[in-house]
């Protein structure tokens, strides 16, 4: 339809002010009427019927009203499917999980089924590294990985432990073995004491008595948090003993990096906390600086002679631990001086700080706070047969010894008044080493004797432990006793390898000889399957020697233990042996008659000087030199 110009309409019509041209229907021209009739034929309505006054406005499109509309036909498909704008289906997404299996649970985890390879080889594909659009390695759900890390290494391990009151709920007090009567007494004695020093002779089961007393205190609700400090090599031993005697008690070993240890110290979770002396000192100094003071109901010091020096950091740190009960365990409460016992009493808080009780007071305190039993009094033990082996140095070894002694004494004398204990000590060590073997010719009277004895022991299927002061000597002996399959256990052996060595010594019938150092092998180890002990050289303190011997001569030993002490005649060893023997009974008055086996002293400065006839030149004459005590 096209537009019709407005001028084609009746131009004579009056035009209103609004621009419209009002006309009456009756005044429509015939031509227009007919045109309208033609175009709008239907409905058939007589125009007369439309005789209504209307006005036609001049809109400019009136002409278009009379034009025929133009119609076009198009075809369209019928829509039969409805479009779905979005779709959602439920599905099970893969959900990552993080697992922490506790040591007690490992035995219940079924082994993974083996995948059958069907004898076919498959090629290995290199690991695919997914990169994002920026070429950066995709972190596979970083937050989830971190979550897993926390579960494995973090506090979840401790948070998931049961509360103290649940540990023993309804449980029987299971003991793997029937305790001896004296052990029952010891347990009851510890149980009832706030301060206690259990000083039973080595091998009587101090560990078991302590664990059981702890267990009873925990069950009765008297304690809930225990800190047990022991030398580092004894940590596995305590873990094993806890598993044996109180499997239900969770033991937390304080170990790991600084952050992990810090977390353990700050935890207020009840339980048994096991740590070594070095960690105690290091960590508590740091904690103290930050004002953190972990609290314990009971502090137990194993091998408590470690705090014999009351001014040492170890002793002062142990005293600073916030605790309600203080127990000390040691087979040698006095190693050198009565003050050592005073240090233990100070830790136990039974004497005031810096208190110096006299011998009478010490004796009275010992009666009240120390429990000590000796094996020969409480057990029907097989005997310990001490057999000093007096040996004579010969040939090159004897010559080397004499030269060293002579030159050494000359050098000491030349030092005059500037001589120190250290100088003498160095000479003693050198002479002891030559007594073990001549480093130039490798001649050794002790080795000859050892080999002779070992042939007999090995032939009878026996096992022997040998102790020496030096790891170098141990390694030297190992090279020369290969026919007895020797095993070495000393400070140079990594901690992780030590337990397997002991296990091999026990189980391997061909391993007849275990070579140990006093420092590493003297305490806490159970080697009662060995019937022979060799002391290749002498330790300064008979108490340490006894501890070493008691590795074999302890509960469970079924046969007499033969102890062979090698002593070279006319050497420094003979003098040391004599001095130590004289000192064995010195402190009987403190610990009573039962204490005489262990109340022994090491060599002090004056005694070391006294091993030699030392003199200093004083003008044309000489005079004796040494510490005041010796001169007096």
């Amino acid at each position: 339809m096209t537009d019709q110009p407005a001028s084609q309409l009746n131009s004579d019509s009056p035009i209103t002010h609004s621009g419209t041209n009002p006309v009456s229907a009756s005044h429509l021209s015939n031509e227009l009427k007919s045109q309208l009739q033609q175009n709008f034929s239907a409905p058939q309505i007589a125009l007369a019927e439309l005789e209504v006054p209307i006005e036609i406005y001049l809109s400019g499109i009136n002409g278009a009203l009379a034009r025929q509309p133009r119609m076009d036909l198009i075809t369209a498909d019928l829509v039969t499917n409805v479009e779905v704008s979005s779709r959602w289906k439920p599905h099970l997404p893969k959900l990552p999980t993080f697992k922490l299996t506790f040591p007690e649970g490992i035995e219940f985890v079924p082994p993974k089924p083996e995948v059958e390879s069907k004898g076919k080889l498959r090629s290995l594909k290199p690991l695919e590294v997914k990169l994002n659009s920026k070429g950066i390695k995709k972190e596979a759900v970083a937050s989830e990985a971190t979550l897993g890390c926390i579960v494995h290494s973090g506090p979840a391990f401790y948070l998931l432990q049961p509360p103290i009151e649940n540990w023993l709920t309804g449980q029987e007090l299971v003991m793997p073995f029937e305790p001896f009567d004296y052990q029952y007494e010891g347990i009851a004695w510890l149980f009832s004491r706030k301060s206690a020093l259990l000083a039973d002779e080595m091998g009587l089961g101090k560990t078991m008595q302590t664990i059981t007393a702890m267990r009873l205190l925990l069950r009765s609700g008297q304690i809930s948090k225990v800190l047990l400090i022991c030398p580092k090599p004894l940590i596995p031993n305590w873990q094993r003993e806890f598993a044996t005697w109180a499997e239900e008690l969770p033991v937390t070993t304080v170990t790991g990096d600084t952050a992990r240890r810090r977390m353990i110290w700050e935890m207020n979770k009840p339980g048994i906390y096991l740590a070594n002396y070095e960690l105690l000192v290091r960590d508590f100094e740091e904690l103290e600086q930050e004002g953190i003071t972990p609290r314990f109901d009971l502090l137990v010091l194993d091998e408590a002679q470690r705090i014999k020096n009351r001014d040492s950091r170890t002793a002062s740190t142990a005293r600073s631990v916030n605790r309600k009960r203080s127990w000390a365990l040691t087979g040698t409460p006095i190693e050198n001086r009565a003050e050592e016992l005073a240090s233990l009493f100070e830790f136990m808080e039974v004497i005031p700080p810096r208190g110096t009780p006299d011998m009478r007071q010490l004796s009275r305190l010992s009666d009240e706070y120390i429990l000590r039993r000796c094996k020969d009094l409480v057990l029907d033990m097989p005997p310990r047969l001490d057999r000093p082996a007096w040996l004579e140095l010969e040939g090159a070894q004897a010559h080397a010894y004499k030269i060293a002694e002579k030159e050494g004494i000359i050098q000491l004398n030349d030092l005059g008044d500037s001589i120190t204990v250290q100088h003498v000590f160095e000479l003693v060590l050198r002479l002891k080493q030559i007594s073990n073997y001549d480093p130039v010719t490798n001649e050794s009277a002790k080795l000859d004797r050892l080999r002779a004895d070992m042939e007999e022991i090995a032939a009878s299927g026996g096992k022997a432990i040998l102790f020496s002061q030096w790891t170098k000597t141990i390694d030297w002996i190992e090279e020369r006793t290969q026919e007895f399959n020797p095993l070495v256990y000393h400070g140079g052996v990594p901690t992780k390898k030590r337990e397997p060595i002991l296990a091999q010594f026990k189980e391997d019938p061909n391993a007849h000889l275990l070579l140990m150092s006093y420092g590493t092998g003297a305490v806490g180890l159970n080697l009662q399957f060995a019937g022979y002990v060799f002391l290749y050289d002498r330790w300064w303190n008979p108490a340490i020697e006894d501890q070493a011997i008691n590795r074999a001569h302890r509960i469970g030993q079924k046969n007499p233990v033969v102890v062979t002490k090698f002593i070279c005649k006319d050497t420094i060893e003979e003098k040391i042996d004599r001095v130590l023997q004289e000192k064995r009974d010195l402190f009987i008055s403190i610990l009573g008659a039962e204490g005489n086996t262990e109340a022994s002293m090491g060599l002090n400065a004056s005694e070391i000087f006294g091993l030699f006839d030392l003199k200093a030149r004083d003008g044309d004459s000489t005079r004796e030199i040494g510490p005041d005590t010796l001169a007096a």
């Binding site: 979550l147 506090p155 998931l160």
Partner: protein
């Protein structure tokens, strides 16, 4: 004195989940022995349903998450399989339809229904379509001492989950 302990073991699985604001749901399963000592702990990564899921699942969303998604996954992946799975939420009894392990709803003894069995201080109800699940308690239920509070391990699970999430958040920050 000879060893007096029984060698029988009852492993209990304590299944719980927490909802964390803006993080979704995290599930945890603690498997203990009958003394309550932990043997294994597992937790899931956070599951966060989107709005469509919330609308379409409606009231069935939580049972779906707890049972089909969290509970089923945790039990499938458990190394130490529990003899009985315990839950504090009755809706989780539906988990039994998806796993082949007895599932018990733990509740206070006073509010117990008639056929519930006593375990420790509480009572346990089982899925009605799995009546033989009760046999595990007939056989081993006596290992759990009467004074044992079996709600307590659920606190441990929740505490461990909260701690893990909190640490995770701190590390992420």
């Amino acid at each position: 004195m000879a060893a007096l302990g029984s060698k029988k073991q009852l492993h209990l699985g304590f299944l719980s989940a927490i909802e964390v604001k803006d993080r979704g749901y995290v599930g945890g399963l603690l498997v203990t022995n009958h003394f309550g000592r932990p043997l294994e702990f597992q937790c899931t990564a956070p599951v966060r349903p989107n709005h469509t899921q919330e609308v379409l699942f409606g009231p069935t969303l939580v049972p779906y998450l707890y049972n089909e998604l969290i509970g089923k996954t945790l039990l499938e992946k458990a190394g130490v399989k529990p003899d009985l799975v315990l839950t504090e939420d009755e809706r989780v009894l539906g988990l039994r339809e998806f796993v082949n392990l007895p599932v018990g709803f733990l509740h206070e003894g006073t509010s117990a229904c008639a056929d519930a069995l006593r375990l420790g201080q509480q009572k346990v109800s089982f899925h009605e379509r799995h009546p033989t699940d009760r046999d595990v308690l007939y056989e081993l239920g006596s290992l759990v001492a009467e004074e044992t509070d079996l709600f307590e391990p659920f606190d441990r699970v929740k505490e461990a989950l909260q701690e893990a999430l909190q640490q995770n958040k701190q590390r992420a920050a």
